[in-house]
């Protein structure tokens, strides 16, 4: 079992994990209401149907998963007390905790898990369908045992047993209903530390302490209230007036973060995102007569001062990408031996000349449209920075501004673009966030967030496919090394930088960063320390 689990990327897996930070060694204090920001407003509260961050942030306080993950990557028990994964990686057995009840008092059993996988995950979760595609059987020999049988070893599956990835449904409320329109999706009944109290649309979501939580004595907080504050300046003001004490994933602007840092009442913290290594890239359309040339793509990489971009647009929260796999994704990130593209406009001009696109009359080489992902001002400014950088080396770039739905349609369905900028979460395992950016078989019209460049490389495809079922950890690392070497050489897409997410919270708040995935943490360990 231990050997098998080392496939999971990080250190060896322990059955349980002890306190990993100084915070947890203090005596936690019970009581209090945590007011948190949630933005944008979550349309529903079911990560089964929608994995958008705000939904995960709220829902995971209400419902626990089979397991959770510790900072070192190891599995922590949650609803499953123990587990046994067979050596061949084909049989995964979970022993469930006894005496756990849903918030309505109904007992939680293996039948709920089987129902959630078969009727929920495999039917309605697009990510789940892909990750669990090798699952051939779910057996429940008794109320506390769940046995999953796989047709092939599937290393990525081990990272997907928490509440965010495998959302558990109370069978007694969902069986025989249309799961997609079940009213409980908006007011979930879970097994987690907080019970859903109310959702006042456009205003807030309130959760109360679960008095019957399986982990006796927890949670420490009486209440968690998620306030919906759509305006960034309004969110900063809410911190300053004490209306909220917590916000995650860039809750305020970089300038406001700097200001609040100096205030003394707040912590601006980049911890808690270890499972969300995020990177930002430019993706060229390889059908474009200019961008299909490797030298043109390399020239673009050389033309952009990525350090300056990070400093001026992203408040310095991030680092220049040296690989398509973010540096936090250890041990997969290959730091050395990859081709790099430091800022060098002269080299860029030289490459463009060599590619056969010299400056013509007026100084321009050719025209491109750059459609940045319409996620807000930071992304628009990044687009503007790219535009200015490329214009300096003679590429006449026009910035395309659309609403998100239009952008999604023109990029992922119509492939109607020259150059886009976008970003993604590489996930806790490269297969989750990296392979779909490069694996040519992931490209399907109408499917968002997969490779759209049109680039295809047999060697890269073979490496990705081997990694999907590769049980030997070192070989799997080597597969992704191959991917990194090819990508940094050919630049099918151009990695620009890694984003460091930050949370802002009241400094009295403890227990928030002892997790690699803050948004999906259930807040059972969060408490207010006295001032």
């Amino acid at each position: 079992m231990i050997r098998m689990m080392s496939v999971l990327t990080l250190a060896a897996v322990l059955a349980t994990s002890g306190p990993t930070s100084a915070e947890e060694k203090e005596t936690p204090i019970r009581g209090g209401t945590l007011n948190s920001i949630v933005h944008p407003e979550p349309p529903i509260l079911s990560p089964l149907l929608n994995t958008a961050t705000p939904i995960v942030l709220v829902a995971t306080k209400i419902n626990d998963g089979l397991v959770d993950y510790a900072l070192d990557g190891s599995i922590k028990p949650q609803l499953a007390e123990s587990w046994d994964f067979s050596k061949d990686g084909l049989t995964l057995t979970f022993k469930l905790r006894k005496g756990v009840t849903w918030h309505d008092g109904h007992p939680f059993t293996s039948a709920d898990v089987k129902f959630s996988i078969e009727e929920g995950l495999l039917k309605y979760s697009s990510a789940g369908k892909r990750i669990f595609q090798t699952l051939s059987k779910v057996e429940t020999p008794d109320e506390q045992t769940v046995i999953l049988t796989l047709s092939k070893p599937t290393p990525v599956i081990y990272r997907n047993f928490n509440a965010q990835a495998l959302w558990l449904l109370p069978k007694h409320l969902y069986e025989g209903t249309d799961i997609r329109s079940n009213p409980w999706n908006a007011k979930p009944i879970g097994t987690g530390p907080f019970v859903f109290k109310e959702y006042v649309r456009g205003s807030h979501i309130a959760l109360d302490r679960n008095p019957n939580y399986w982990d006796a004595g927890k949670p420490y907080l009486d209440r968690v209230v998620f306030k919906i504050i759509p305006d960034a300046a309004g969110r900063a003001a809410a911190f300053e007036t004490g209306a909220v004490q917590f916000g995650q994933q860039h809750p305020i602007t970089f300038a406001d973060a700097e200001r609040l840092k100096k205030d003394g009442r707040f912590v601006v913290d980049t911890r808690g995102y270890e499972f969300s290594p995020t990177w930002f890239w430019l993706e060229p359309n390889h059908k474009n007569q200019y961008l299909q040339h490797t030298k043109v793509r390399q020239a673009i990489a050389h033309a952009i001062d990525r350090g300056l971009l990070l400093k001026t647009v992203w408040g310095g929260y991030g680092k220049v990408a040296d690989s398509p796999i973010p540096s936090a994704l250890k041990p997969f990130h290959l730091g050395e031996g990859l081709q790099q593209y430091p800022f060098d406009p002269k080299r860029a001009e030289q490459l463009l000349d060599e590619a056969g696109f010299p400056r013509k009359e007026g100084g321009w080489r050719f025209k491109l449209t750059h459609d940045f992902i319409p996620y807000g001002d930071d992304y628009r400014r990044t687009g503007e920075f790219v535009r200015q950088s490329l214009r300096r080396v003679g590429i006449d770039v026009t910035l395309g501004s659309q609403d998100l739905t239009t952008w999604l349609k023109s990029v992922f369905t119509d492939y109607n673009f020259d150059l886009i900028s976008s970003w993604g979460n590489a996930g806790a395992d490269p297969q989750m966030g990296i392979e779909t950016r490069f694996w040519s078989k992931a490209r399907m019209p109408g499917t968002s967030w997969v490779v759209v460049s049109g680039y295809q490389n047999d060697e890269l495809d073979a490496a990705v496919e081997d990694a999907q079922t590769q049980i030997e950890p070192q070989k799997r690392v080597e597969d992704y090394n191959t991917l990194q070497r090819i990508v940094q050489r050919d630049l099918p897409l151009i990695p620009l930088f890694e984003i460091d997410w930050f949370s802002v919270y009241d400094k009295r708040l403890h227990g928030l960063t002892n997790t690699p995935n803050q948004r999906a943490d259930n807040f059972a360990n969060v408490y207010f320390a006295p001032e």
Binding site: T33, N35, P43, I44, S46, L49, N50, T51, A52, S125, S126, A127, K129, I131, R180, S181, N182, N185, A186, V200, R201, G202, S203, H204, A206, D208, D222, V225, K227, I228, P230, D231, A233, G234, A237, A238, T241, A243, D403, L404, T405, T406, L408, K409, S410, F412, T413, D414, G424, N425, M432, G433, T436, A442, M444, P445, G446, T447, S448, W449
Partner: protein, 335 residues
């Protein structure tokens, strides 16, 4: 005409206006429906994209489209919607997973409260300032009012909102910076609830009111100056009537007509302005819901919001027309 005859004619008039409004509102729905069809992408694209970075399932979007009824021919979709609306069924929002009526009723109160309060503040303040300014055109008060009105009219709503937040919310800490209520474990009731709502309402309503106040102040000033220069005012003065009676009974009553027209015309703008104010102040109103419905191509929701807002605009204008007759007996409703 006898008073019974007057009310009958008024009723007939209202009935005719309501009947005329039906095709208008249907037209608005159809227009919005087709407009939304022209925009690329649909709700299935949005929902699928929110599944994140691993949605590598070609059939998934098609599946969603089928589940949402978006695979049906366009005209059939419109017909189904209209047919349902006729039975007061406004459909299901597939994005929010609940009935559209539930979503709208949860947010309608917020917008109506904000818009109505702002309107009342704007009309009262605007009229008073306009009247003061019109008493001595070119005088000190007139100049001050003109400068204030120009500032309030030209400053962007979001900026005014933010400035009020910074000053009254963050710096003085007198008023909450956002939301409509204090979230308490035990829901507030009675007077405490009323005070809490008012407390939260002051900043957003003032922000929205300032803009409209500027319009009404300028409008009142202009119509008042015009009314006061009429012959009947000179006659009233010659008869030796008191100043107050001349201003209010003879001048202001006549000056009110254009002001009332303006209020009717601005009803739509007021709803539009509330989108900005709702965003800045995290006010749970319908404006933000409409904005989200457009961005997410949430067809049923958007059509129902359009239906409701066109109904409000039609209703406000109807009230304005009736007010005309009351203000100026020469205008006969239903004539």
């Amino acid at each position: 005409m006898s008073s019974a005859g007057q009310s009958r004619s008024l009723l007939r008039y209202v009935a005719r206006r309501v009947l005329l409004a039906i095709p208008l509102i249907l037209g608005i729905i159809a227009f919005n429906f087709f407009l939304l069809q022209l925009a690329p992408g649909d709700l299935a694209d949005v929902v699928a994209s929110e599944q994140g970075g691993a949605a590598a399932d070609a059939g998934y979007v098609q599946e969603l489209r089928k589940a949402f009824g978006l695979d049906l021919p366009i005209l059939l979709q419109l017909w189904t919607y209209l047919k349902n609306v006729a039975t007061l069924d406004f459909g299901f929002s597939h994005r929010y997973g609940i009935a559209v009526t539930e979503l709208i009723t949860a947010r309608l109160g917020g917008t109506l409260l904000l818009a109505a309060t702002s309107l009342v503040i704007a009309v009262i303040l605007g009229t008073v300032l306009g009247l003061l300014a019109a008493r001595r055109p070119g005088g000190v008060i007139d100049s001050v009012v003109s400068i204030l009105a120009t500032l309030a009219y030209s400053a962007p709503l979001f900026w005014v909102g933010l400035m009020l937040i910074v000053f009254f919310g963050v710096y003085l800490q007198w008023l909450p910076t956002g939301g409509m209520q204090e979230v308490t474990k035990v829901p507030l009731q009675g007077l405490a609830l009323l005070i809490d709502r008012l407390h939260h309402l002051i900043l957003p309503a003032t922000t929205l009111a300032l803009f409209f106040m500027a319009i009404y102040a300028r409008m009142t000033r202009a119509s008042m100056i015009e009314a006061m220069s009429q012959d009947y005012i000179r006659t009233a003065r010659a008869k030796g009537l008191r100043d107050r009676r001349i201003i209010f009974r003879h001048g202001f009553r006549n000056a009110l007509l254009p002001l009332v027209t303006m209020i009717g015309l601005q009803a739509g703008t007021l709803l539009g302005g509330s989108v900005v104010v709702e965003t800045v102040f995290a006010w749970p109103g319908m404006g933000r819901l409409a904005f989200e419905a457009v961005s997410n191509r949430d067809l049923n929701l958007l059509l129902s919001i359009m239906l409701l807002s066109s109904f409000v605009v039609v209703a406000v204008n109807l009230v304005v027309d009736i007010l005309y007759a009351w203000l100026d007996p020469r205008i006969e409703v239903g004539a």
